[in-house]
Amino acid sequence: MKYGSYNKSNYYIKKAITISILIVFAVLVLYPMYWVVISSLKTNNEFLSSPLGFPAKLRFENYLSAWNKGFSRYFLNSILINIVSVVLTVSIGAACAYSLARFEFKGKNIIFYTILAGLLLSPQVAVLPLFKLLVRLNLYNTYWALILPYVGFNLPFSIFLMRSYFLSIPREIEESAYIDGCNAFTTFIKIVLPISKPIIASAAIVTSRFFWNEFLFALIFIEDRSKYTIPIGLSHFRDSLTTDYTTMIAGITIAALPMIILFLIMQKQFIKGLTAGSVKG
């Protein structure tokens, strides 16, 4: 497109104004994060005496101290629960989604809509009976108390996401495998799963974001400090480290970093999974 000289300068003025406004918003977003990171590298005295100042020396020891005061444990718990929940959700979900996408069987539609309706149900409504159930099953205050409900609540979304992907795979690929003597199970494992890596990655990212953040179940179903996940550990930190501000703030940074890094590395899958989820969620 060609601009006249007037139009061109007009265009640049408009662009400059727009970008300045966008930069103001970017500063509003980034400055609080920057403040947290800088505060996490101060001594308590520096933090108390000049909240906006820059530390004389960057104290990475604060991270070590947060790590040693329980964070290592919370981190480990979160990762463990996350891995087991993601593996269970994705594998159980993929199998179910595959069956719904490929097979014809009695009751298929009812089953599909029952699963889909699960997307509309909020965990808060189930939390009290789940608490009683977990106590009865002797699972209260174990990792399973979180893993099992997490998987249950995240299956509908992953099934929905993966089913629509499986429907888009041409049948011919599987048919030839079938002729070569594979059964339904081996076809699924050897042919379907390998070509579905992108959608599995999306499902894994979205569910693991949920598990990493989940607060309500983790607050109610776990009692021992040694089994706390990161969000609960953080919240507990606030009450126990009332005067050790900078260690606490280092803890916040440790909690925030993994998902920020994951997002920056895998932006595409991240956004794909989130947008697919929102459309029907």
Partner: protein
């Protein structure tokens, strides 16, 4: 293609077992609990009929909670959907080139941080003595500003709401950007030939084309506002003087501080009714407009 009649069920059963045991049965049980007086560990229960519900409707905290949830919904609609839409249209306009990706990533960033971490971050940002907000205000006013944003009944809930706008406006913006990118380029070309300004293109092309997504994001925002828990719990715990209670924290406090499980279950039913009907409205609206 596959003849075995049992195979399809074998693939499905594990998922169904999980969903029934950990989602459906507890939710049904919750309805049942709401008609009883019961405690968390004691086995006994007394049938109360609708008394729990009657009590809730006479409880002042319930009305505080409903008002707070509604404020959350309204303000989030204005900022997350309204401002999110303006940002989405601006970032996708021809005015910007490669910079758009940079801004998109930055605006989205807060939404990937755990809510508990953001909540604690703002707990310090709002701190009257050493927080970022008062320090910045003091720079401009020259005398020392020491306001307890989360400690005063008038501002506490709005301080928490502001934090959520900071966190989620970029998230809604991304959802809108994805659907703007699906609009056929020809529509803009036609508008350009007609001499439409970029503002007119936004009003007459972009917004009507993504109407569906605007509706969906509005519904997500409203549902989110009524499911609220973590944001309040890590910042104010419902205080000061219960002024920041929302339905979620009200339920939690009733169940685990006062040990009134049946009463709390009735609050959960109310949360269910509000979020479920909103979802149904979403599905209705989505189906009416085609895909």
């Amino acid at each position: 293609m596959y003849k075995n009649k049992i195979t399809p069920y074998l693939f499905i059963i594990p998922a169904l077992v999980f969903i029934f045991i950990f989602v459906y049965i507890p939710i049904i049980e919750n309805f049942y609990f709401s008609f009883f007086r019961m405690n968390s560990y004691a086995p006994g229960r007394t049938f109360l009929g609708l008394d729990n519900y009657k009590d809730i409707f006479q409880n002042d905290i319930f009305y505080t909670a409903i008002i707070n949830n509604t404020w959350y919904a309204v303000i989030s609609l204005i900022f997350q959907v309204g401002l999110g839409l303006v940002l989405a249209i601006t970032l996708e306009s021809k005015l910007l080139g490669k910079e758009r990706k940079f801004f998109r990533t930055i605006y989205f960033l807060p939404s990937v941080i755990a809510i508990a971490a953001v909540g604690l971050m703002f707990y310090y940002i709002y701190n009257p003595n050493l927080g970022l907000l008062n320090a910045v205000i003091s720079l401009f006013t020259e005398n020392e500003f020491k306001y307890a944003w989360l400690g005063r009944p008038n501002t506490a809930i709005f301080a928490v709401i502001a934090m959520s706008q900071w966190q989620f406006t970029g998230y809604i913006m991304i959802l809108l950007i994805v659907s703007i990118q699906k609009i056929p380029e020809e529509l803009y070309e036609v508008a350009e030939i007609d001499g439409a300004s970029s503002f007119q293109k936004a009003i007459y092309v972009t917004i009507p084309q993504i109407k569906q997504m605007i509706l969906v994001t509005s519904v997500i925002t409203v549902i989110g506002a009524f499911k609220l828990f973590t944001e309040i719990f890590v910042t104010t715990r419902g205080g000061p003087y219960d002024t920041t209670q929302v339905l979620g924290t009200f339920m939690y406090k009733t169940a685990f501080f006062y040990d009134k499980m049946g009463y709390a279950a009735a609050i959960a039913v109310i949360i269910f009714i509000i979020t479920f009907t909103t979802s149904i409205i979403q599905i209705r609206l989505a189906n009416r407009g085609g895909d």
